[in-house]
Symmetry: C2
Subunit: 282 residues, 2 copies
């Protein structure tokens, strides 16, 4: 059992982890950190944490387990702030959706604390601590991104702990993680947004488009409604991998355009067949 678990950012992910940790007595004390007063009140009211504060250093002082569930862009700066006050050998992990900053955090903590990057692939329509559920991670994939610098004991401790949430653990390098989520999540989002841009420019046809969009279009573009600030940040944080997957995607599109231009019936069918067969595997 840990002495003090500090959860930095008690939204849906941080709050759910807190509820699960409290129910399973993971630590003697579970503290939440948030900037907004309303979030602090809700985090306690919804049983996410024992107590909550806006004071990051106060919350993290003496912590032997830290879960960083704040926006990805803030994580390295938070690590630099809390490093001096943590208990020696503290286990630090995060829930960020990109992992390019892992090496930076490892360097910040050095031997003082053990940082292991993570990404629980769970979520929901609602956000905030009162949308939290202690079983949010059950059945979800939780990616861990250890490196050659990771402390083996800390990593094993984290694995055993997270498996108890019911999540399916998957381990990759930080770089592979970013490539995988670029292809599986960020690229589809950009495509959905680009699809929505298309009818928009045909202003003349737009009213008719609204009448004829069928369920296929609605499904393909649903995710384009996502929060623009969040997707701005995700795109920038995963820029290299996203640009790489966009290049591959553009090449596949160009391949199809070429065989369609050439009206090559057999190749057109084969191109759709490969995709249909592949899709059925998922």
């Amino acid at each position: 059992m840990f002495q003090k678990l500090a959860i930095v950012g008690v939204g849906l992910i941080g709050g759910s982890f807190g509820q699960w940790a409290r129910q399973n007595r993971v630590a003697r004390e579970v503290v939440g950190v948030a900037r907004r007063e309303e979030t602090l009140v809700e985090a306690v009211a919804c049983d996410c944490v024992d107590w909550a504060t806006a004071d990051l250093l106060h919350a993290c002082t003496g912590a032997d387990f830290v879960f960083l569930a704040s926006p990805v862009g803030q994580i390295p700066a938070i690590c630099a702030q809390i490093a001096p006050v943590l208990a020696p050998g503290c286990l630090v992990t995060d829930g960020g959706s990109t992992k390019g900053f892992v090496a930076q955090c490892e360097a910040i903590f050095g031997e003082k604390a053990h940082f292991i990057g993570g990404h629980p692939m769970a979520g929901g329509e609602k956000s905030g601590p009162c949308a939290a559920r202690p079983d949010l991670f059950a059945g979800a994939t939780w990616i861990l991104t250890p490196t050659s610098k990771s402390d083996a004991t800390a990593l094993q401790k984290l694995r055993v702990l997270l498996e108890k949430t019911g999540a399916k653990l998957l381990e990759t390098s930080p770089q592979t993680h970013d490539e995988l989520v670029a292809v599986a999540s960020h690229l589809p989002h950009v495509c959905a947004a680009a699809l929505v841009h298309c009818p928009r420019e045909t202003q003349e046809n737009a009213p008719q488009i609204e009448q004829i969009v069928a369920s296929g279009w609605r499904d393909s573009t649903r995710i384009a409604e996502g929060n623009p600030e969040m997707w701005r940040d995700i795109s920038r944080q995963n820029r290299a991998a996203l640009l790489d997957s966009l290049e591959k995607f553009a090449a596949h599109l160009e391949e199809f355009r070429a065989i369609l231009r050439g009206d090559d019936a057999a190749k057109i069918e084969e191109w759709f067949r490969v995709a249909a067969d592949e899709r059925r595997r998922f």
Copy 2:
């Protein structure tokens, strides 16, 4: 009331139209045409038609109303075959998902019959005459594509009739129809297929991709499972409009790649925001 309605192709669309026509006494006689013996038996068993035959000319002889629900590529050839046996002034319409062949059909019939292109945007997971429902078109959009050569009386007759199915009628030129469905339906299909091609090529990562694909990816790529032969034919029949929409789409993607390469936070956010706002209108 028509004397004889011939439905060429009694699958889901043709069969549903037949059920609706019989229930609403649209014609004294409703005949179905299909190639396969099994389909003929099912079309009668499932109340789609009064009788069914594989003999196209027998079915169409003396018909004053013809609904062509066969594959799009066969429609002009069927029109050429049936033109000599129809009742004078016969109303002919179709359910094809592209409309590039409309001028060809108008020329085939000349003054003998009145061809007006149509496209009921209805469907379902199942196919065949026994999946038919007389209310399949209620609430669906039914596009009609009259031209300057269309007979005004025949067009008005068709409008009044189809409105009784509960469909919402929308009239465009054949060319605008093809542009609209390219953007709203064919382009999203090609994108979904291209998205599925991306993880496939990263053979090394493929097993992990399967574990991390979230609901966004599943929604974006669901339609890629569609029948490859059907999508081969649709792509070829709507080649010009589809190539045009692919070019626009590629330009939007390239625009995003350029602002992401330049790491322009404000423009990236704006690009996602325009798409999110637009998507919410649908």
